[in-house]
Amino acid sequence: MAHVRFQNVSKIYTRRSRQFLFRYVWDALRGRRQRRDSGGFYALRNVSFELREGDTLGIVGHNGAGKSTLLSLAAGLTVPEEGSVTVQGRLSALLELGGGFHQDLTGVENLYINAALCGMTRREAEEAFDRIVEFSELGEFIEEPLRTYSAGMVMRLAFSIAVQVEPEILLIDEVFAVGDKDFQAKCGERIREMRDKGTILLCVSHSPETLRALCKQGLWIESGEVVMQGEADEVFDAYLARKGAGQAAS
């Protein structure tokens, strides 16, 4: 059973003086747990939640609140200093537009590399090829080098690959920002379809409007700490109210 569990998770970033680096690497090489510097700051503090199949969590917060750090932890890209993160299931992460893309390679070449990066086998990638190209609506452009693509086209390709991997857990970070309305609608459709099939969804945005249609649960964080956690609509409403108040005050 696919699941995502955060238990009292904290992520601390430390200042890196030269001595600190040497000590840090030395400890790591000896297999010891790293000592922490006193001057660290909490990018995330004491966050807990648990998601099971079909759960959808929308995470909101201002810039620097710790949203992306949270997704990095879920993707296993970085490890928590305190608490534990447990992730079980096939995971696909859309954390950056075309993270593994290369400008000089064609759409097809990039497609295969990214499919492989998403954990697909050769057979799976070949089977999914037509579906991905069709979903991306790139047509003939798929044969062209990526540097001739617009930002929207890159996003379409990246997104098409990520959703055709049939992940059990899907992480999305702000990537709805690009692309036309029609494609956005199609993506939303596809994500809801996956959700209904049991895919766990973690979405991050600073604007909750895009999240409303996708998420049942909400998590609001500021400065690394949980402000509110619960029903998506309640959390988003509270967040918008606070945001509006903040803007009015300033």
């Binding site: 096939r90 070449e109 697909m120």
Partner: protein, 254 residues
């Protein structure tokens, strides 16, 4: 994420490296051949016309065989050492087995190496050398060299994330090693007391094995055949351990 199949990803990463290198170049793969040929020409000129060592038969071919092996080692090691840093986008944003970054870089360089070996073979046959049964050992010897470079690169690429000085350490080491590999001198010129040490230098050992096989049509010396796999295995094992211990926090330090 569970990767059931590293092969497909590795293959794609290797091809990506290879394609990117030659995309938008008019001479393409020809560059792989030009560099060793130029080096061969220069070294042959210096060591037959300026310095005059005892006459070595087909000196230019011996130089080329040394250069090809050394080039693979030095280029693969250097580019693999910076592979984590130069793929920071992948390391920070895409969950994947990160060991594959230095390893695929080494293997992509291995493709260039094979092209250069092709050049060497053509020149060897042209000079009248014949294929002999010991050639069957060559793939094994080259695989051991690749394993050694992978091991070394796993260590240095992981350290490079924390200490960017690593690439300069590697560059300097390469410069020094160039003189310590029998490229423009032969093994027989090395004084007896240093020979056993040379066999522990895997790159020198690969050159020696290659030269024994293609020029003398004989089995490489037994101690060399024992030491080379041993050293390669140790470096590979150490590389994986070091990499695994350091990779946890890569994303935080890039």
């Amino acid at each position: 994420m569970q990767y059931t199949n590293y092969g497909f990803l590795l293959r794609n990463l290797v091809l990506r490296d290879f394609k990117i290198r030659y995309r938008n170049m008019s001479l393409g793969v020809f560059w792989s051949l030009l560099n060793p040929l130029v080096m061969m020409g220069v070294l042959t000129f210096i060591f037959t016309q300026i310095f005059r060592p005892p006459n070595v038969e087909d000196f230019y071919l011996k130089v080329l065989s040394g250069i090809v092996v050394f080039n693979f080692f030095s280029l693969a090691w250097l580019s693999a050492t910076v592979s984590i840093y130069s793929n920071a986008g992948l390391v920070k944003k895409v969950p994947m087995p990160r060991e594959l970054l230095p390893i695929s870089t080494v293997l992509a360089n291995g493709l260039h190496f094979l092209i250069q070996i092709g050049l060497l073979v053509v020149l060897l046959l042209h000079a009248g050398y014949e294929v002999n049964r010991y050639w069957l050992l060559l793939p094994v010897v080259f695989a051991l060299e690749a394993a050694f470079v992978c091991g070394l690169s796993l260590t240095t690429s992981a350290l490079d994330v924390y200490f960017r000085d690593m690439r300069y350490v590697v560059e300097s080491a390469n410069t020094v090693l160039f003189w310590l590999v029998p490229i423009f001198y032969t093994f027989t010129m090395i004084p007896q007391e240093y020979r056993s040490i040379y066999q522990y230098n895997p790159i020198a050992a690969v050159v020696l094995a290659l030269q024994a096989i293609v020029f003398e049509a004989r089995m490489p010396p037994t101690p060399l055949l024992i030491k080379l796999p041993l050293v390669s295995a140790v470096f590979l094992a150490v590389g994986f351990v070091v990499f695994r211990r350091l990779k946890r926090n890569f994303a935080d330090f890039l």
